[in-house]
Symmetry: C2
Subunit: 139 residues, 2 copies
Amino acid sequence: MNKKNMEEIKQMLKDKGIPPSYHRISIYKYLKDNINHPTVDTIYKDLSKKIPTLSKTTIYSTLKLLTRKNIVQEILIDDNEVRYDYNTKPHAHFKCTKCGKIYDIFIKSELFNIKNIEDFSVNHTDIFFRGVCEKCKNK
Amino acid sequence: MNKKNMEEIKQMLKDKGIPPSYHRISIYKYLKDNINHPTVDTIYKDLSKKIPTLSKTTIYSTLKLLTRKNIVQEILIDDNEVRYDYNTKPHAHFKCTKCGKIYDIFIKSELFNIKNIEDFSVNHTDIFFRGVCEKCKNK
DNA sequence: GTATCTGCAAAACATTTGCAATTCT
DNA sequence: AGAATTGCAAATGTTTTGCAGATAC
């Protein structure tokens, strides 16, 4: 089952023109299994338990590569830390300013489909909300 | 005329509960005169020509203060540099991925008025577009 | 055997902080 | 004088880069 996942990811990376090294497969699988928009640091702390030789440099370069190939998505919602999202389909994000968690918001909006606005060609639309989540409201 | 502007800003800062030092007035006036979403570094390079004693620390602390008081707006559209926007009214932004310029987009969207979404209380909505601007298209 | 991938250490940035000096009233 | 503002230098945190060694095909 886990093996099967690895094989599937391996094939997918190949199809996208990315040589599927063990590290790359592992990092992608981590994003698939942890859809809570982890940072490089979080990925490193977790994954290096299982793969002690893994370095941050490799995580950085792998994520840049996957982003360039549109297999994952960078989220720049706040602060100066980049987060990564396994889900590349158009969706919005919500960040709770108290607990810092980021949630996916699956709203439909015509803004995601805009191809031109004023004189500009649009390639990508980001919609971010900031506020307080249910849990933090009740504290 | 210029003096008059300074006086107006001074009064406005006072009204918002901010002691209007010369540096604070100058930084706010810079944002008013340069609505192209400058970074701290840009502000520093430009303003320190006129005010040689001005330090980056002061610019950082002043902008944090103005942001907290909702007099200016932080823009976190890309990379790891914060940009500042004189215009605090709801509007979207477009970033050209070729030249790096950021443009204001004055679209109307009900998303700017959302107060609740799913279980969350929304305080702020950001809408960002990325793509290529007219000038870069024709290069 | 040659390309690529990886990891370390250093560098490069943006931003924050501690603290002493300056300024303002 | 007393409180707030400012500036320097150092610290912090994230990301990038150069290069040497390891790995893969």
